[in-house]
């Protein structure tokens, strides 16, 4: 033995192995442990799924009561046939985890305010924000409701057990690749995670508010200007429930407090706000046409929810068949059941209600310890919820959040001295009253809809939906169609909750909920269709105040099209869902064309102007006019409002596009047109021409970069949830825009397109921008994307058990006890 070389070589070997087994800092983040990560038998190579991978398998789980057969078709859609209903949910949980575990874990960590556990200190603001909004509190309340319902509890228990059955079978090498990249291990699922996931959807769909931004705007502008910038009425509105509908007699009468003008509406107190919020444009389209308008004589139901586009997709497609029901559609990895889809009798879909159900109250504490707060003329005792936030690589962060009793509701004081979240000034305290923190049982809706046979079943199902409120569309083989602007909505007096409200007594609290029989709905209307696209659900005759923040154009166009369509086929409906006609542009273009001072344009500007003038108002692939319009509009709005907003607080509400267009169509001498910094008075023509000249410079640059074509300018992308570019699909040639029915924006759009024709043998079509597998190493991870970009659909197959030898069945998974 040569002792010195031996020791030296052994030391070097050991050192190398330790280095390769350690996650080391690299360029600001952490690199995987390369030995482990590159080992072909342990690391990421194990996630490189063979193109001919055989998914067929036999599995045994003692938790099952009977047999479950899963037939996977050529698109990797599972058709689950279970002898017992709860076994089907077990298998659904297993399959969700098998194909989407990483995403389920990430989303529930995000919902629970636990991101810091994975990514370290940079997740702390998010975590505190979510916990202080009451996400975990709300999930706990929702879970208690679920636990009161034995049917749903059994469903959730089975689903959770299925997820855990998969997790327990994982080995180091079979972990999803994202875990290997970030050095994290999956934890067991529990029912609270399902609740958290659903609250995450509530956050996404029903947490949007502009209360701070509007309060700042109200403080900054004169009352007259404020009304002009933020009108409560839209001229272009074609509501979901058509104008002229007679509503139920009002039973709740919300009353504005005394002195509301001086204390609330005319108060000039400023707040600061700069935090991130859920997307305002989280919208969607849905409609159903009755048999008298269709070629087949049977109703057709269509739905395309517009959400943030990600890989893996929010949706997982499947069929669940068990004694008593048979449903097909898309599910949420994270929750049991089919969320949007159809069964043997009917079809159902949703668009977001989008009303403001998140309001703030300014709270007065006795001192910085926050032990007592002033309410109804006395000091009341605060409750505290102490959150321990674990941070990777750092000591825990303890956040104690005050809860105050406002009326009957304990509300978290979200913003205070210890947490401004970029929103509060720090010397003030704001409690948040959020509808999602109330008890409700959202899972019940989906369970009941999956089983629904007729209109009565549908009505009974959707009235359980409290938050997030949705426009629930329905069609049935019996010929019925319906839509319900469902939710449990606070009954507000006009203007209530638009701004931060005083929280020192009961006078500004919500005074009750709109009774369920006053929730507007339509059932088999004379016009032969129902539709919604997030526009304001009702006109001004509806007795309750429902806010001002609704996009009008998609809804108006859908109704215009459906009104004139007859003898409709499913293919016509697909064409409508992917229609790129821009109604906002149709409304705004005359303003530009009538007022452009063409003589002032140089040759280059003239070239762009000709392209604009000849534009067919469609956001199609290759359209240059669409890009020019978009750039021009944004410069025009800046030119009109920029001078007035120049000295405004940093975060302040901007008027909606529809507000400016409608104001100018009514009044070409709109007072904001004048630039307050110049001695002369600018006209509409001056502003239009100035904006166009400014736009031309930008357009020239775009043209040089080869980005003048609409799809290149917009550059639609589907980002991986961990924001890893190579796992994302970038620069897709997708048409459509914010205001078109095909509302595909750069990172947001139709997350599932579905057309269901309820003929005797259901004819169904659908597509979502993703793939069934969440594994970036699987060819099924994004194989639907190109089909979706092209506006094409897949035929959806409601399989029967007798078709098990059909050539579409590629693999079979047997589950037994």
């Amino acid at each position: 033995m040569r002792i010195v070389p031996f020791l030296l070589a052994t030391a070097i070997t050991t050192g190398l192995v330790i280095t390769l087994n350690t996650r080391l800092p690299l360029a600001g983040s952490e690199a995987p442990a390369f030995g482990k990560f590159l080992s072909p038998q342990h690391g990421f190579w194990q996630n490189a799924e063979s193109a001919n991978y055989d998914f067929t398998t036999d599995l045994k789980f003692p938790q099952l009561k009977g047999k479950v057969s899963v037939y996977l078709d050529e698109r990797l859609v599972p058709h689950i046939f279970a002898d017992q209903e709860n076994d089907a949910y077990f298998v659904q949980g297993y399959l969700h985890a098998r194909f989407r575990l990483w995403q389920m874990e990430l989303q529930t960590y995000a919902a629970a305010g636990r991101v810091s556990e994975i990514i370290g200190e940079k997740g702390l603001t998010h975590d505190r924000e979510f916990r202080r909004l009451g996400m975990v509190y709300a999930a706990e309340i929702a879970l208690k409701e679920t636990e009161k319902d034995p049917v749903l509890l059994a469903e959730c228990d089975a689903y959770t057990a299925g997820i855990n059955a998969f997790i327990d079978g994982l080995t180091e090498s079979s972990l999803p690749v994202e875990y290997k990249l970030i050095g994290h291990k999956p934890e067991h699922w529990s029912n609270i995670k399902t609740s958290l996931f659903l609250k995450y959807m509530s956050y996404d769909l029903a947490s949007h508010d502009d209360d701070f931004e509007l309060t700042n705007a109200k403080s900054y502008f004169s009352a007259d200007d404020f009304t002009k910038l933020f009108p409560a009425v839209q001229d272009s509105l074609d509501p979901i429930i058509p104008k002229g509908t007679v509503f139920e007699k009002q039973k709740v009468f919300p009353v504005a407090p005394i002195a509301v003008d001086s204390i609330y509406f005319n108060s000039k107190a400023l707040v600061v706000s700069e935090n991130e919020k859920a997307d305002r444009e989280n919208g969607s389209n849905n409609w159903a046409v009755s048999g008298k308008k269709t070629k087949s004589g049977s109703p057709i139901l269509c739905n395309d929810p517009h959400l943030a586009l990600n890989l893996p997709s929010l949706w997982y497609e499947l069929q669940i068949s068990a004694p008593g029901f048979n449903a097909y559609g898309v599910s949420f990895p994270g929750a049991p059941g089919v969320i949007i889809g159809y069964n043997d009798s009917c079809a159902f879909g949703f668009t977001n209600g989008g009303r403001d159900v998140r309001d703030y109250y300014e709270i007065k504490f006795n001192n910085d310890k926050r032990a007592q707060y002033w309410f109804n003329g006395a000091w009341q005792n605060t409750r505290f919820r102490v959150d321990t936030i674990k941070i990777k690589g750092k000591p825990d962060f303890i956040d104690s959040v005050a809860y105050v009793l406002l009326g009957n509701d304990w509300c978290p004081v979200m913003y205070d001295k210890s947490f401004g979240g970029g929103r509060a000034t720090g010397d003030k305290n704001y409690a948040v009253r959020w509808k999602a923190n109330d008890p409700s049982n959202e899972l019940k809706i989906f369970n009941m809809l999956n089983h629904a046979k007729n209109y009565a079943d549908y009505s009974a199902a959707v009235t359980n939906l409290h938050t997030p409120g949705q426009n629930c569309v329905f069609a049935c083989k019996t010929g019925d169609i319906a839509i319900r602007t469902q939710g449990e909505w606070p009954a507000k007096w006009k203007g209530q909750g638009d701004f931060i409200m005083p929280g020192t007594d009961t006078s500004y609290l919500w005074q009750g909920m709109i009774p369920q029989d006053e929730v507007p709905f339509q059932y088999n209307p004379e016009r032969g269709f129902v539709s919604s696209a997030n526009q304001k659900p009702v006109d001004e005759t509806y007795p309750y105040y429902i806010g001002r923040d609704y996009p009008p154009y998609r809804g108006q166009l859908i109704n215009r099209r459906l009104n004139t369509m007859n003898n409709i086929s499913p293919q016509d409906m697909m064409q409508l869902q992917t229609d790129n006609y821009d109604l906002f542009a149709e409304t705004a273009m005359p303003l530009f064309l009538k007022n452009m001072k063409e003589s002032e344009l140089d040759a280059n500007q003239k070239k762009y102007y000709d392209l604009l003038r000849n534009w067919n108002l469609r956001d199609d692939v290759g359209s240059k006019g669409a890009t020019i319009f978009e750039v021009l509009w944004s410069n025009f709005a800046d030119t009109v409002y920029g001078d007035e907003y120049a000295k405004a607080p940093k975060v302040i509400m901007r008027p909606f596009e529809s507000t400016l267009v409608e104001a100018l169509l009514k009044d070409s001498a709109y007072s904001f047109l004048d630039n307050i910094n110049t001695p002369q008075k600018e006209t509409l023509a001056d502003e239009v021409t100035a904006a166009f000249k400014k736009s031309s410079a930008h357009l020239q640059q775009l043209e040089k970069d080869g980005k003048l074509d609409w799809e290149k300018f917009k550059a639609t992308r589907i980002a991986h949830l961990a924001k890893l570019a190579p796992f994302s699909r970038m620069n897709l040639a997708a048409p459509g825009g914010t205001h078109t029915i095909n509302a595909t924006r750069s990172d947001h759009g139709p997350s599932w397109r579905m057309v269901i024709s309820l003929t005797a043998q259901t004819e169904a079509y659908g597509v979502y921008p993703g793939g069934q597998s969440g594994n970036p190493g699987s060819k099924y991870c994004d194989n639907f994307v190109d089909q979706w970009v092209a506006g094409k659909y897949y035929s959806l197959w409601m399989m029967t058990k007798s078709e098990s030898s059909d050539q579409r069945v590629k693999w079979k998974m047997n589950f037994d006890h």
Binding site: M1, Q41, F44, A48, K779
Partner: protein, 114 residues
């Protein structure tokens, strides 16, 4: 002859052990083979290197080939900042080879009398 037997034995034992043990079992296994089949340090180093270079390179190539290099394309962009699956396979093979080579070298020094 010893040289080839060492390579094959190291590759086989490392493959088998990695089915049950963590990735770094390739180090003690290569060490063990070098102890059992004594060679000059240079040769031991080379046989350890070649064994794991071939094993890891071969396995990752085979997996990636069956995967139509789908994941390797993405992963090479992520790790190497360039789209080159073969380079990623080469890096994998080199790292496996280096660990085994050093372990085998250590093993050979244990047996070597002079």
């Amino acid at each position: 002859m010893k040289f080839f037997i060492s390579i094959i034995l190291t590759a086989l034992i490392c493959f088998a052990s990695a089915l049950y043990l963590p990735w770094w079992s390739i180090a003690p296994m290569s060490f063990l083979v070098a102890v059992l089949i004594p060679q000059r340090p240079g040769k031991a180093f080379l046989s350890g290197f070649l064994a794991l270079f071939l094993l890891w390179g071969g396995l990752s190539f085979w997996i990636s080939y069956q995967n139509e290099h789908l994941l390797a394309h993405k992963m090479s962009m992520l790790i190497l900042k360039m789209d080159n699956p073969y380079l990623l396979i080469l890096v994998t093979a080199l790292i496996g080879g280096l660990v085994a080579a050093l372990a085998a070298l250590s093993g050979s020094y244990l047996r070597k009398t002079k």
